[in-house]
């Protein structure tokens, strides 16, 4: 049984074909998996590993480095309140506390109904709208406490479902052009890549004489 549904499997294959090295598709595939399932499950990571030809542990090792890749379940709406310095000056810390009261959960937690996860986030490049928040990476700001309550109401009653898709869905626009790099260039690229890999291993581990 495949994790990816047929439509996403097709997209996954396109992604893998975009790079000289399949591994470059790893993060885009993690996003694709989250768009299908809301978070990055073990089954998804195993399948991604097969697609990019690495060990599942390497997928997990990479994914665990990145804040946006969630190997545990998250709510339908991931609410991130920024408290970095520009937002801090605009009342971001107070907004986070208010958000925590309204949702009834501390930052990092998910509501019992699985609808909301609250996060305290670092600057999301929306500082002219301080204090600001993101819901599933869609921007809102500047927000008063009242604005925040309204936002939560709108989300609860699904009034924003057009502008805020479920968690995991990032870009709703997919690449529609096939890669066009000629095969002979791809062969050259792979040769350079292999040599660089060998040189790197040899430098890291002089005793092994470059052997893997």
């Amino acid at each position: 049984m495949s994790f990816f549904n047929p439509e996403n499997l097709e997209k996954a294959q396109v992604l893998v074909g975009l790079y000289p090295d399949k591994r470059s598709a790893l993060i885009p595939l993690c996003h694709l998996a989250q768009s299908q399932h809301g978070h990055l499950s073990k089954e998804a990571m195993v399948e991604i590993a097969e697609l990019v030809e690495v060990q599942p542990a390497e997928v997990y090792g990479t994914a665990s480095f990145y804040d946006m890749l969630h190997t545990e379940e998250v709510g339908n709406y991931l609410v991130g309140v920024c408290t970095n310095v520009a937002c801090l000056l605009g009342g971001g810390q107070e907004l986070l506390e208010h958000a925590s009261d309204v949702l009834g959960i501390p930052p990092g937690a998910t509501t019992e109904d699985g609808k909301f996860t609250l996060e305290e986030v670092e600057c999301v490049a929306h500082c002219d709208k301080a204090p600001c928040a993101q819901v599933n990476y869609r921007y809102f700001g500047p927000l008063t406490n009242g604005d925040f309550d309204q936002l939560v109401d709108d989300l609860k009653s699904d009034r924003l479902s057009d502008s805020v898709p479920p968690h995991g869905v990032l870009s709703r626009v997919f690449r529609d052009a096939p890669p066009m790099v000629p095969l002979e260039i791809i062969h050259q690229e792979r040769r350079v890549m292999d040599e660089a890999r060998k040189a790197r291993l040899a430098a890291q581990n002089p005793d092994a004489g470059g052997k893997q």
Binding site: I27, N84, C127, R172, M193
Partner: protein, 432 residues
């Protein structure tokens, strides 16, 4: 009215679409470059423009391109990771003029001889990812990307790569690792200078989104016209991202050195001043990695060397204003917490030092600090950037480490009294 380069179209309705872009002269520069100029001539124009990179380090773009090792396989990577706190200029450009970015990227790929280019965009830019991907799709269909573009014989593929939430991936070698599907661990330079050993081991140029967005204008108008704006090493315009305690935060594109900090902050067309009765306490130019400057520096022109001479940097072009109702200890603590959260963990001084400094700063802010804590903090900072000079000494793989002391050392130097009040009165004297 000063000339607008990168933001000339951002306010036009549907500025992100191909049809609007074409109506306003879009892809004419790419045509000109591919059909009338050699790659060397494009490079010459960019060199003549004197344009410094807009990503933070301020390295001359033409010189960077000329340092690219001339191997058969070469790559271009555009840095759209924009995560330096208080920087939000690339955000505007990717959402409101993605075709300008795509066109600049294609011209650059031609100039440096890359057959593949990548735009690495911060994962949190959901709308930006949609806009840039649409632009790429439209540009392929229009024939501006792909094989034998406009019949010139030049071919290039352009791929949009999403990040996944990690500040360090803005550092160019970490970005390359991320693009290779790995954790964003910066590489050691030497030997891993991207222009020599970059993406997939091949020579690679990494340039910022705003840098790329200037290229179509330079090709159209010539490097000299760009160099005619500004003064000294600060040529052209810059997009200043103004935030913090001002009435009108936002992005303002200004001819370099044409305005001072004071004008940017107080002019009703720009920052619009501060809240009634307040005054500037400090300004953080160039992102939170930069040292702070005081109100005595408000008459400095917004230029690369001018800000450097005042002991800080223009960096990413962002400017945070702190007014006299803002607590310096709290601001510096919050910035340290950011670095502590975002340190990739490879180097001990950065990983451990940021944690120690954050904890001590927090306890001072909360009122349980002691006078000796100030020396302790400075000592921890000195372990990361020995001598606490500017520009800093480096004991770590990348410059995230030596950026950590900037805020803390600035705050202690400029507002030691305020630290003492926190310590003596066992709490923060400011309301927030």
């Amino acid at each position: 009215m000063s000339t607008k380069i990168v933001t000339a179209r951002v306010d036009i309705p549907n500025s992100h679409t191909l049809s609007v872009y074409l109506e306003h002269g879009g892809y004419q520069s790419l045509r000109k470059a591919l059909l009338e100029m050699t790659p060397e001539q494009v490079q010459e124009e960019v060199t003549a423009s004197g344009m410094l990179g807009r990503g933070g380090a301020g390295f001359e773009t033409g010189r960077k391109w000329s340092m690219l090792k001339q191997d058969l396989v070469r790559y271009l990577v555009v840095n759209g990771d924009e995560s330096e706190p208080s920087t939000f200029k690339d955000h505007l450009l990717v959402e409101n003029d993605p075709h300008q970015l795509v066109e600049g990227t294609l011209i650059t790929a031609y100039a440096i001889g890359a057959s593949r280019a990548f735009i690495y965009l911060r994962g949190e830019f959901a709308l930006g990812l949609e806009r840039v991907q649409s632009a790429i799709n439209e540009a392929y269909a229009y024939g501006a990307i792909g094989r034998n573009i406009f019949g010139s014989g030049f071919s290039v593929d352009l791929v949009l790569q999403p990040g996944a939430g990690a500040y360090i991936c803005g550092e160019e070698t970490a970005l390359i690792e991320s693009l290779e599907g790995k954790r964003g661990f910066p590489r050691i330079k030497p030997p891993y200078f991207p222009a020599v050993i970059g993406l997939y081991g091949a020579p690679t140029i990494v340039n910022n989104v705003e840098t790329m967005s200037n290229v179509p204008w330079i090709v159209k108008n010539g490097g000299q016209a760009f160099a005619a704006m500004g003064k000294g090493r600060s040529t052209g315009t810059r997009l200043f991202a103004l935030s913090g305690d001002v009435m009108r935060p936002g992005n303002y594109e200004l001819e370099m050195t044409s305005k001072t900090f004071r004008e940017l902050i107080y002019d009703p067309d720009f920052g619009g001043g501060l809240k009634e009765g307040r005054s500037v306490k400090a300004v953080i130019p160039g992102g939170v990695s930069a040292p702070w400057i005081g109100p005595d520096n408000l008459d400095l022109p917004l230029g690369q060397d001018e800000v450097a001479q005042a002991g800080s940097m223009l960096g990413s072009g962002s400017i945070i204003v702190l007014d006299d109702h803002t607590c310096a200890v709290r601001a510096a603590w919050r910035i340290t917490r950011f670095f502590n959260r975002e340190s990739c963990g490879q180097c001990t001084p950065c990983r451990e030092g940021s944690g120690w400094i954050e904890k001590i700063m927090h306890r001072i802010e909360l009122g349980s600090g002691t006078e000796s804590d100030l020396d302790l903090v400075l000592d921890a900072c000195d372990n990361i950037a020995p001598g606490l000079t500017w520009p800093p000494q480096q004991t770590t793989i990348c410059v995230l480490g030596p950026s950590i002391p900037s805020s803390v050392v600035s705050a202690i130097k400029m507002f030691r009294d305020e630290f003492m009040v926190h310590i003596k009165e066992e709490g923060c004297p400011f309301v927030h």
